[in-house]
Symmetry: C3
Subunit: 263 residues, 3 copies
């Protein structure tokens, strides 16, 4: 059984290691995999994007824990869910909203309010539910505790959405930067089908008109569009940081001319 961890805890402090100690104390045979601990502090939507981009590459039955938790100790709930044969454990603040999304033709996600205190470490602190609630709940699920045992089924969990494309005139579209990766690739919420053959992307004062299949197809120094490994269009430079050259961050707007707006 695999448990993945996604947090904004960084790796300098022992917070992640402590969660692993708690997990292994309950479920010694579990395999723990780090997805990222460098989520921008408190950035729930960035964590949601990371989880959505990653979970399906793990075997069915994997338990994914996301702890980006600015409301820790307050009234916000803790939730555990099952969707597409993967389990998810997190605070109810939107971290899971992209993975618990109902996609057409799939079964609706099954979501429970984590309230069964017998699963928790005691006493539960007010400031570190990753250690006291999320890690032990995930470990108990890994050992076979049924999802129903964590608490009551709920339907009103917090939903946030990836920013939607907005039509601009008859053939344009306003898009958004979802994520900037380590290489400086700018991941947008555009998909390949949104681009017509003669698209023009306007981003931070620059224009992108070429769609490449690979990074090395890009002419040196020219910003290009590329279908990235997440399925989204990325703005990229070959062997250089597009984000740095454009000084752009997640959340920035991008205008596309002659997009396929009806898609």
């Amino acid at each position: 059984m695999i448990i993945t961890l996604t947090t904004d805890f960084g790796v300098k402090d022992p917070y992640v290691g402590i969660m692993k100690g708690v997990i292994l104390g309950i479920a010694p045979d579990v395999e723990i995999v780090d997805l990222s601990h460098e989520i921008r502090s408190y950035d729930v939507l960035d964590a949601a994007f990371v989880l959505k981009s990653s979970y399906s590459y793990f075997p069915a039955g994997t338990i994914h824990v996301g702890v980006i938790d600015p409301g820790v100790g307050s009234v916000r709930r803790a939730i555990a869910g099952l969707a597409n044969r993967h389990y998810f454990v997190a605070p109810d603040n939107g971290v899971l909203s992209l993975v618990l999304d109902t996609e057409s033709g799939k079964e609706p996600p099954q979501v429970h309010h984590i309230s069964n205190e017998r699963l928790f470490r005691t006493p539960v602190s007010r400031t570190f539910h990753g250690r006291d609630i999320f890690a032990p709940t995930a470990a108990h699920l890994a050992r076979g505790t049924p999802l129903e045992s964590v608490g009551a089924s709920i339907g009103d969990f917090v939903r946030r959405a990836i920013p939607k494309l907005t039509p601009l005139g008859r053939t344009g579209v306003l898009a958004t930067v979802l994520h900037v990766d380590k290489f400086g690739n700018i991941i947008t919420n555009l998909r390949r089908d949104h681009l017509s053959p003669h698209f023009r992307i306007h981003v931070a004062g620059s224009e992108v008109t070429r769609l490449c299949n690979t990074f090395s197809e890009a002419p040196p120094g020219e910003l290009v569009a590329i279908e990235g490994s997440t399925g989204f269009i990325e703005i990229a430079l070959d062997q250089a940081s597009a984000a740095e050259s454009l000084n752009i961050r997640p959340g920035a707007e991008i205008k596309v001319e002659t997009a396929r707006v009806n898609y």
Copy 2:
């Protein structure tokens, strides 16, 4: 069996990976967990704090290795100890002084000088005992080598202590910053019981008078005191870095008025 690793090696170089290779070559079934590899270079007391804050969340019998080792290759000894049913392996420079501390009512720690060369990689380098001495010794302990086999029992290992509170007048106390975490929370050596109902903490020119249970209780932009997950009082801002706003570092002094000095 679990081995945890705490070093100042960073993650850019393969030093940590090499230690894991050595461990797995000796003890293939061991589970290795990283506590932190971003201890400030050569900062023995920071590592001691990290180990003290973390070890007890692992199952009894876990072996904790700490390699912050500016004196590598010199006359400083290597030690292995058993305390509170956890094993510890490190250079004898104070890294283990907080976990091998004798607490009232507990058994005294059992500490041995690591000198049994049959446990080492050969030849032993002068610059990387993490690879040649600490990793293989920990791996042999994990495989069941008795602690006594590593070398002679000693009592004079290096002890360093968490800075103590100093009384200031009749009701004041001088405290110290122990650690600043990734979120910028300022972890002090104060405990909740040290604060009277009308405490005033003076820190880097600012005043803190409010004790909150959770981060989100803090009014926006107001520095507050909070009992952190380590059991120490932290100075914090909600969703912002208190340490950055105060430009404060570990070791800085904090004055508390109307503290409970007799506690």
Copy 3:
């Protein structure tokens, strides 16, 4: 069975975690160890150096995966090799050239072009062969797929070499900085035998004339030479960064006077 990972992916994005998910989906019992994910972006030779410095500390049979892949999706091949009883999987761009080097008296490395699509994830993306080709190929090798099954044997894989020493006059040598580690130690391509008893190393306007056995032997603030744990001579300061004090980077030149040029 152990698989090690070396990439320039960083740890902020979930790329490394995704590769682990793919590996564990195919080979659930494999142990995955990170060597480094902070290789400088696209720096093939740095990754080659990291692999060369690390692989032999793992048990024979370990599979080492290196993904520094600026040419992903282009015509560059993927290769898998066996040398000195270790397996290696990487793009054919030089990442493996130091570990697949033929050393005197050893068997020549056995190298294959990875082309067996039945081992890949489908569809194979153009931008993330770490996920779609290298991770699954390594996982299949870990499960016992013979090396020959990945594709045809080849001999013309890309070879790059550690920069060689160049003679300077009768007793001098021009050397190169291979790597700067987290502590600021400057790892050169010199070995201890290259230094005569009265050597003088000229580096970035400073002179080094002392060879120390340990870091703590270095007089405070004096740059010294030391035989590092990789077997190469390092320029170091005790408890400070030599690289920062000299403002030096990998690739920089170093002049040595009265070296042993005939070695």
